[in-house]
């Protein structure tokens, strides 16, 4: 009986290598096409941006675009000084990184050097949740929680006898609270990428430092951090790039006033906020306003691309390799 079974099976077994190989070829070709979708996406982004940007510069001189100090594309007297939007973007991103750098880096040090594995297991998901909160929620938080909080704080400071005179008034839309909340948003990014860099510094370096009599703080600040510096710097650059491209928080909390300057207490308009403002209105395709959002998009794309590439290059160029 038991001997019969294999022979019965082998009668049924008809290897059809040709068919299997044909199926495999078809599957492989389809999947290769799917992989090419990602290249097509990049090509699509670059081509659309270039196409509409060229059309834009057919109507607006590139010198005006780069040197004008007013941004009024939707008014009668149109001015296209991109520097106005860029200054606002840099202002909010700058405030964001002032918040995120200490917060993120210290968190990374804590998670990789001080926290026990059990505590780490609890803290990392919390940071992940913070990273997963949608940006429109941060916009709500900035506009309706942080701004009123800062306003009452400013008002309280203003009651002080001498310094009170120097305290400015904080408007309902301002770059300060948008930037602070943007900083909270990118803190998990700085923390998790820096932690990876700090974590990958070999234990032998720490042991060597302890053997020379250094304390834990001295080991962390003078041995571990310098060894992980390339990873930390690149994480910060990536975070800045993320902050520059962020949209909803700055649109909701920083306002819609294109204004040149770095005053964080008044409404400003970032590049992304402008794109949203135009998109919410009804802009017919082919109009100058329509082309303008592509020109602004191109500027934004180039800025973030340069930062991202610089960050990748920095890691590769300055990474300390330990074996």
């Amino acid at each position: 009986m038991a001997v019969d079974l294999p022979s019965a099976n082998s009668a049924l077994w008809q290897p059809n290598r040709k068919r299997s190989k044909r199926v495999q070829f078809i599957v492989k070709s389809i999947f290769a096409l799917f992989a090419i979708v990602s290249i097509a996406t990049t090509a699509g982004i670059v081509l659309t941006l270039i196409y509409e940007t060229i059309a834009f510069f057919g109507e607006v001189s590139i010198i005006d675009y780069l040197t004008d100090t007013k941004w009024t594309p939707l008014f009668q007297s149109q001015k296209f000084g991109i520097i106005v939007l860029i200054s606002a973007t840099f202002l909010t991103s700058g405030i964001a990184i002032i918040v995120a750098l200490p917060l993120g880096l210290l968190s990374a040090i804590c998670l990789s050097e001080y926290a026990s594995p059990e505590v780490r297991k609890v803290l990392k998901p919390i940071l992940e949740i913070l990273a997963g909160v949608p940006s429109v929620v941060y916009g709500y938080f900035a506009l309706l929680f942080v701004t009123p909080l800062l306003q009452s704080l400013f008002a309280w400071f203003a009651t002080f006898p001498v310094i009170g005179l120097a305290v400015p008034e904080l408007e309902g839309f301002n770059a300060l609270s948008a930037g602070i909340v943007l900083g909270i948003m990118i803190t998990p990014l700085v923390a998790s990428l820096s932690e990876d860099a700090i974590y990958s510094v070999p234990q032998s370096l720490r042991d060597g430092s302890y053997a020379l009599g250094a304390t834990k703080r001295e080991t962390v600040t003078r041995v571990v951090l310098p060894a992980a510096l390339s990873g930390i710097v690149s994480s910060v650059i990536l975070a800045i790039s993320r902050a520059i491209g962020e949209t909803m928080t700055v649109t909701l909390a920083a306002g819609q006033n294109p204004r040149l300057g770095l005053n964080p207490f008044v409404p400003v308009m970032t590049m992304t906020a402008f794109i949203v403002q135009v998109s919410l209105g009804d802009t017919p395709a082919g109009s100058l306003a329509y082309k303008t959002i592509y020109a602004v998009g191109m500027t934004l794309f180039l800025l973030t691309l340069v930062l991202n590439l610089f960050s990748f290059w920095f890691v590769r160029r300055f990474r300390e390799k330990y074996e």
Binding site: F34, T42, A191, R217, T247, I293, L300, F301
Partner: protein, 309 residues
């Protein structure tokens, strides 16, 4: 010339030695200060998350408690007490299902190709570098692509500012995340399983389908769910392609105009009346519950997956 130099050098050294004190207690004090600062930073992140959630629940819960069902089943309205989430909820469901239909097979297929089929040549490298770069492109730029490509260029097919255009835009946005997640899941499958399959005469695709997929699928699903939970909160690209902010009908097909939860929330936050801010908070509670449920599912799958591996 050299002698006095070396003499002073020696003298310096001796003075240093004389004055060298380990000062351990002082250094340990700074150690404690430093350690407390790192804990403070982590604690602050936790507190901020708590404040964020509590402030949202504090503002929005009364709205949900007074009229939960009405809030979910009413169309938007000029009166905040009568405004509801219906069109946004239905729109989000439509968009997310469409996104999944496009992004899942394409993302997993591309991931399988790169991890299992592709040889290590310039083309594969190009795709890899490209995927890394795509992950860093701001989401609003994808909106500009979608506006040009899906809304304008492919209008006869997509119907313009429609669910299909929005879903395709979001699908492109999350594709890199799914591809990377798929590759990680495939890499976690031990090579011995593949080799056993080849030894029995199976083709590469048969090995992938019959042996590798059953082990890798929880990991692939985890990555996909996380990618979809990113898409569900995305606002900027959909505003750019022209999703409406005020919509009082339900979509009938993929070519209908639409709105989604985060856009409805954005609309309510940006209005001056306090009543709409309450609605926005209530909407955020709903959005966060959906997100937490998706993340919980992903973590559940990941834990199950890790135990088996």
């Amino acid at each position: 010339m050299t002698t006095p130099d070396s003499q002073t050098f020696n003298k310096d050294q001796s003075t240093q030695e004389q004055y060298f004190t380990p000062n351990l207690s002082g250094r340990y004090k700074w150690d404690t200060v430093f350690a407390s600062f790192t804990w403070l930073a982590v604690g602050l992140s936790v507190v901020i998350l708590a404040v964020l959630l509590i402030s949202v629940v504090w503002d929005g819960f009364p709205r949900l408690a007074s009229d939960f069902w009405g809030f979910l089943t009413n169309f938007p309205s000029r009166k905040p007490e009568q405004a509801g989430l219906l069109s946004a909820l239905v729109g989000t469901v439509w968009v997310m299902i469409t996104v999944a239909i496009f992004a899942f097979p394409i993302g997993v297929g591309a991931g399988v190709y790169l991890e299992e089929f592709a040889t290590d040549n310039w083309f594969t490298k190009l795709i890899e570098v490209n995927i890394n770069n795509l992950a860093g492109v701001p989401s609003i730029i994808y909106g500009l692509l979608g506006l040009q490509l899906f809304v304008r260029f492919l209008e006869p097919m997509t119907g313009g500012r429609s669910i299909l255009s929005g879903a395709l835009t979001l699908a492109l946005l999350i594709l890199p995340i799914i591809i990377v997640g798929t590759r990680e899941a495939l890499r976690a499958v031990p090579d011995s399983i593949r080799q056993a399959g080849f030894a029995l005469g199976a083709t590469r695709w048969q090995v992938i389908w019959d042996q590798v997929f059953p082990i890798a699928i929880p990991g692939i699903l985890t990555g996909t769910i996380l990618a979809l939970s990113r898409a569900i909160g995305e606002t900027a690209p959909l505003i750019t392609i022209g999703a409406l902010t005020f919509i009082s009908f339900l979509p009938e097909n993929l070519q209908s105009q639409f709105t989604v939860l985060p856009i409805q929330i954005y609309n309510w936050v940006s209005r001056p009346q306090a009543g709409f801010h309450t609605n926005a908070a209530a909407g955020i509670i709903i959005l966060m519950v959906v997100l937490l449920a998706m993340n919980g599912l992903a973590i559940f799958l990941r834990n199950k997956f890790q135990k088996r591996g």
